[in-house]
Assembly symmetry: C2
Homo-oligomer: 212 residues x 2
Amino acid sequence: MDNATRSERSRKAALEAAIRIIARDGPGRLTLDAIARESGLSKGGVMHQFRTKEAVLKALLERQMEHFEEFSTRYLAKVSATSANPNLATQLATVREAATSPNSAALALVAAMVENPDLMSLPRDREMKRVEAIKAEAADPELALLRWAAARGLLLSSLLGMSPLGKDEHQRLFARLLDDDQWRPLEKPAKVRAVKAGTTSAAKAGTARKRA
Amino acid sequence: MDNATRSERSRKAALEAAIRIIARDGPGRLTLDAIARESGLSKGGVMHQFRTKEAVLKALLERQMEHFEEFSTRYLAKVSATSANPNLATQLATVREAATSPNSAALALVAAMVENPDLMSLPRDREMKRVEAIKAEAADPELALLRWAAARGLLLSSLLGMSPLGKDEHQRLFARLLDDDQWRPLEKPAKVRAVKAGTTSAAKAGTARKRA
DNA sequence: TTTTACAAACCAACCGGTCGGTTTTATAAG
DNA sequence: CTTATAAAACCGACCGGTTGGTTTGTAAAA
């Protein structure tokens, strides 16, 4: 087998084993020996691919970030034409994806934070840019930020195993978060720029539509 | 010195040392030896007060929960007369308190989760009751839950060191979360079927709002 | 041949927890 | 108020096992 692909295979096996361990036994049980055992590699093999445990965590983190970055980019391209606030919509959808992901993905975050809190600067910096984009496009930046925060609250709660919500409730809340019509900005700025009228526009709530 | 108070003192010293360690070095660095070193006690002394490390985490967890429970009760008593949704208001205020606490309190959660994820059932169960109370009193339960989720998102993000928000922004967002006037309930969401194309809903402004 | 990928034995430091012993407090008889 | 005794708080050396990481060896790829 080709050398490069062999390495690639081993790295992938190790990282996936790591995720499995974290999800099954908790971040505290993630050790190099456990990774070796779970991946089928020897410890030496693992150490050949990652010089240190921190390197494993870093790779794990980057892998996950890349994965969701990709999801984000694709989603953004899809909705940027139809949504008034595509960046917010994208982040909400991405967080939902992370929360419902079959593999318990974002646990890499917790594991990294346990081992070395400084590692969190990577995802934090990346998140900062996204938050900027969300604020920039929003008619009501605070409201947008709060929707973003709510999504993160749902994700992190269930990630830490402390969400008191049922799975169905979880889903419904995400759906509502994503529904722009439910989040009309308050008339705080005197001059509210009408939301970019796209194909989505539809009926403005409250005034145009009265419910029964 | 009295025996009981001596024990009390030692337990307190150990637990506070533990919190200091977690906040400074991360949850992964919390060891029994470290607690002994940081608290000034000997390892034997620590082990005399807590038979196992898990007992330390449990005590830490219960201590923090009790502290915020107390804050909650006091706050609830204060606002239950004037607020339309005192339970939600109380939870929001409590979470804000936890987020701005000088000691990085709620880190006990992360530490417990690392050592033994099962420990999370304690705070989860308690949270479940609170969520029930919030839903019961709310005109729009989903909206209330989302405000609650947003608060938790802000708290957990900064707790894990991955909040991209400035401290002032943080405060402003909490203030807005707490301001009932900014969150007008929708009426019974009889037929809400919203995904991405804005086809939905009826936003109705406060007919039934009771405000002071 | 040289380099790369991996295996397996190995190591020092550290981990949670035990144990025998010392000091401090509590109880109570004289 | 002593004094004897037991009980609780505390110390620190120690133990088996684990941890992150190294070293040595080997077989395949380059």
